[in-house]
Symmetry: C2
């Protein structure tokens, strides 16, 4: 394995979800691999630098080359950013939080790397989807991650109903995220729309001092009310109909 | 965070996927938390001991209490196994490989822990689903994990077609695993059944010297043939229709 990791590759490096110490969420060998990389492609250069400050980088951070993925980044640009590989350099891909290319941009860079014959090395790190699903007690043998629900309230509630039907038919846990300032609206829609017996789990503020993981039936949520405040705290929502 | 982790909890501890060094896949703080736990619930006591030998356990391994989850384990037994929590002890949950309660048993134990008011602490570690999805270059913003496909060939091929239709309609990556000795049969069915333009990715032998991650269109797989040998090597299969 050491040999594999010392060869140049596109290394997929997970980054922090919250404020917990690096040693809680990133294996030491992955920290070492990331610390030696001089070429990074990032969703957000600021959070990438925040990450690099947490590990003991070999190069001064100002000497590390960080390219930022923009919505209008062209394929030609992405290919160019991967070119240092051809001179024997590894490249690191990091997203704003958690695992790159999952619930985040970056998959197109991985796709281009494959087409260029670049070795792709995924690494272990924090995934809110996996942490939240493990801790929910809901079905982890069949699940779907949908990303964001529609913003419009009635479209959102129709979507929740559709997901609940799939969940019931397939015994499949449904997983979604929301832009943190819309957490309360999404939780309200879930509690209002889902069947009383459906189990609804939240993983709020993972890896922060406010971490809250709670699984209740919708009926219980209706009686107890949702936790406050959810506003602006990253949250994963999971439910399983029966 | 240190405070959270020093309080008794049900700790969800991921274990090895392959033969790679522990420091590549388990954060040092998680190793320390796991090393201090005296009560374990395991899918397989043998692999649990193999894991405990890799970390520097505080207690001699023979003094660590390991309960094995059986298909016929009753709720009463599981409740009893969680009872050391009430005397201030943490309990560790480990599966045979990767993350507990994901693509593996254990979710019912987490569910019972929630109902007993036990703090559930999920930890970061290797997940073949996340590693394979990150590295595939396929859509990581919408995906479904289905577990195992049907064993019967024609039922399996019908199921693959159904999943491909969902993938096309929802731009959703479909993910499945197979019992390693059936990998070749499953790969044959995928290559035969899926549309030529569908992208098919495999993550074979993750965290072993034979690790192979490859994404090609079904048409390309038909021309190049599947990699050999896949037999008895854990493999994750992912595809995305277009």
């Amino acid at each position: 394995m050491t040999n594999i990791n010392s060869k140049p590759a596109l290394h997929l490096i997970p980054v922090q979800l919250g404020t917990a110490p690096t040693n809680l969420w990133l294996p030491s060998d992955v920290q070492n691999i990331a610390a030696n990389i001089k070429y990074y492609i990032a969703e957000n250069a600021k959070t990438a630098r925040l990450f690099l400050k947490q590990i003991n980088t070999t190069h001064a951070i100002r000497d590390i080359n960080i390219k930022t993925i923009e919505k209008n980044s062209t394929k030609e640009e992405l290919v160019k950013w991967l070119e240092p590989y051809n001179s024997g350099h590894s490249i690191g891909l990091v997203s704003e939080a958690g695992c790159p290319a999952i619930a985040d941009p970056g998959a197109n860079i991985v796709e281009i790397a494959h087409s260029m014959g670049i070795t792709v090395m995924p690494h272990t790190g924090p995934s809110s989807i996996i942490l939240g699903l493990m801790a929910s007690g809901l079905n982890g043998q069949s699940f779907a991650f949908h990303g964001y629900a529609p913003v419009d309230t009635s479209a959102r509630e129709r979507q929740i109903k559709l997901w609940e039907n799939i969940s019931r038919k397939q015994n499949q846990t449904q997983i979604a995220i929301e832009t943190p300032y819309r957490n309360d609206a999404f939780m309200d829609s879930l509690i209002k729309t889902l069947n009383p017996a459906t189990k609804l789990s939240i993983a709020l503020g993972l890896h922060t001092p406010k971490q809250l993981i709670q699984t209740l039936t919708v009926d219980q949520w209706r009686k107890r009310g949702k936790p406050t405040p959810m506003h602006k705290i990253p949250c994963l929502f999971l439910f399983l109909a029966n």
